[in-house]
């Protein structure tokens, strides 16, 4: 992972904007931002962002590579698409945030303890395994993602919610053992493996 980071630093020395354009999903749009601030003002968790979207775009252009890739900011995106429909230049902001988060993760720079990062990775692993999300397993892993002790605390705190879901048959304990997922699991694994391979090959080409 960090090897890829070294390669990228070498390749794009002092041109983080170019690096983002070439490697981040929808990153080619970043330079179109005109710094009006509408996205930041529209963002529901905006007040919690260390650098709201407008600032993220400015910092990319200013070459603040480490500050951006190691930032918690993009991980605050709730995928509400408010920014997208309001941006006067129609930047695909949501996708750029997701793209930046994924790129940071791939380079091994994403903040390890960020809870949304942890949850997002768990979610992907969970769905990729059987082809469909196994909600109970995901829920349990979620509770215990910060270790056993805190997991018990979270589980207790969340117990009323969980019991409500159980009582109304919207949470299936049996799925812990018997969740089937897709028949074509193997196919899905093959498709995902190939897709990742193609994507990494592209990155290597840019980087090499």
């Amino acid at each position: 992972m960090s090897d890829l980071n070294t390669v990228m630093v070498e390749k794009y020395r002092n041109d983080f904007l170019k690096e983002v354009e070439a490697n981040v999903e929808e990153g080619k749009w970043v330079k179109m931002c005109m710094q009006c601030g509408v996205c930041s003002g529209s963002c529901p968790l905006g007040p919690f962002w260390e650098h709201p979207p407008q600032e993220v775009f400015m910092m990319i252009r200013a070459g603040k590579r480490d500050e951006i890739l190691k930032s918690e900011s993009m991980w605050m995106c709730t995928s509400c698409y408010n920014c997208i429909v309001r941006c006067p230049r129609e930047l695909p902001i949501t996708h750029i945030m997701h793209g930046l988060a994924h790129y940071a993760e791939r380079l091994g720079l994403a903040p390890k303890q960020n809870p949304t990062r942890k949850f997002a990775l768990m979610f992907w692993d969970n769905l990729a395994k059987a082809g469909r999300v196994n909600e109970p397993i995901l829920g349990i892993k979620l509770y215990f993602m910060n270790g056993f002790k805190q997991g018990i605390q979270t589980a207790l705190k969340m117990a009323p919610v969980g019991l409500g879901m159980l009582r109304t048959k919207r949470f299936n304990v049996l799925a812990l053992l018997f969740h089937k997922g897709c028949k074509g699991k193997q196919d899905i694994h093959k498709i995902l493996r190939k897709a990742r391979e193609i994507e990494l090959a592209k990155a290597a080409k840019f980087g090499g």
Partner: protein, 300 residues
């Protein structure tokens, strides 16, 4: 009216005993009345939702969705694909549009699909269930089936994010979409007119990872419904439904509020108005029971 048929993409949360299983039950009841046949995409997989991005890059996520779309194309190429979950609809539709716009991505996606002997050609339209109701059926026809008008019920239409943005329903504004209110009124209930949190974000998946922050958003959504005089919230989205419903106890503790606001699906309202029992529309799946709606449903 001739039977309308669609390819159906239910998504993970609609699975039996999953978090939106009651949504699925009510959709089937509603479609039964409207003579809509939903043909489930064989062996569909998860769409990746909006939180899958950390583990899955662009191409893996596109390929994941394209598998569903390719399977649907194989099964009934002449039918539109319909999703009931906002996130599923969004992922599928985004995939189609991005692949159509970008030949390189289409080629690469098909290369990945080829591993499973599949090929995607982007033949079918991808639609949300509410699009089908509004566009293919129409309000007039939706109203024609009402047997038990929901009169006297005042309901806040919470459209939320992803059924509304970035695609939304053709002809509706992103800031103040009217279709949900119109559906409520078509069923004989009263829609809260000035519901200022109608399109606000509930926190989505961050309700799990950043509970304090998203519960603050959820609190405002519920409070605005009370302020408007609503006794119930209706939504088209399973994430909104769950987030706005199940954390009310925790919010009450933290903010000393006394929230006890039922949150139902449009399809549950419609099912009841169409004469289905509370069980047939999955109202027994509500964590906060929608008592008045249940009574109405079970009144002979």
């Amino acid at each position: 009216m001739a039977k309308k048929q669609y390819m159906f993409y239910p998504g993970c949360s609609a699975e039996k005993l999953a978090s939106a299983s009651n949504y699925e039950v009510s959709v089937q009841a509603m479609c039964d009345v409207l003579d809509i046949q939903l043909n489930e995409i064989p062996d569909w997989n998860c769409c990746g939702a909006s939180i899958g991005y950390a583990g899955g890059g662009e191409l893996p996520r596109l390929a994941l969705n394209a598998r569903n779309l390719a399977l649907a194309e194989q099964d009934h190429p002449d039918q539109d694909i319909v999703a009931t979950c906002a996130a599923c609809w969004l992922s599928a539709r985004e995939t189609k549009e991005r692949l159509e716009d970008n030949d390189a991505l289409m080629r690469e996606t098909n290369e990945a699909l080829g591993e499973a002997g599949l090929k995607y050609q982007a033949k079918q339209r991808i639609r949300h269930m509410v699009e089908v109701l509004v566009e293919d059926i129409g309000y007039e026809e939706l109203g024609r089936h009402v047997k038990k008008p929901l009169s006297g019920l005042k309901i806040a239409g919470y459209v939320g994010c992803q059924t509304n943005r970035p695609f939304g329903i053709e002809g509706e504004s992103f800031e103040n979409p009217k279709y949900l209110d119109k559906m409520v009124e078509t069923m004989g209930a009263e829609a809260v007119e000035k519901y200022d949190k109608k399109v606000s974000c509930c926190g989505g998946a961050l309700a799990f990872s950043e509970p304090e922050k998203s519960q603050a958003l959820i609190k405002d959504i519920i409070e605005a419904a009370y302020d408007g005089g609503a006794e119930m919230i209706v939504t088209p989205c399973p994430v909104c439904q769950m987030n706005v419903e199940v954390y009310q106890g925790q919010i009450n503790k933290k903010y000393r509020t006394k929230f006890n606001m039922p949150v139902v699906y449009y399809s549950q309202l419609m099912g009841v108005a169409y004469g289905k029992s509370s069980k047939e529309v999955g109202l027994n799946g509500q964590v906060i029971r929608a008592k008045r709606l249940e009574e109405l449903a079970d009144r002979k």
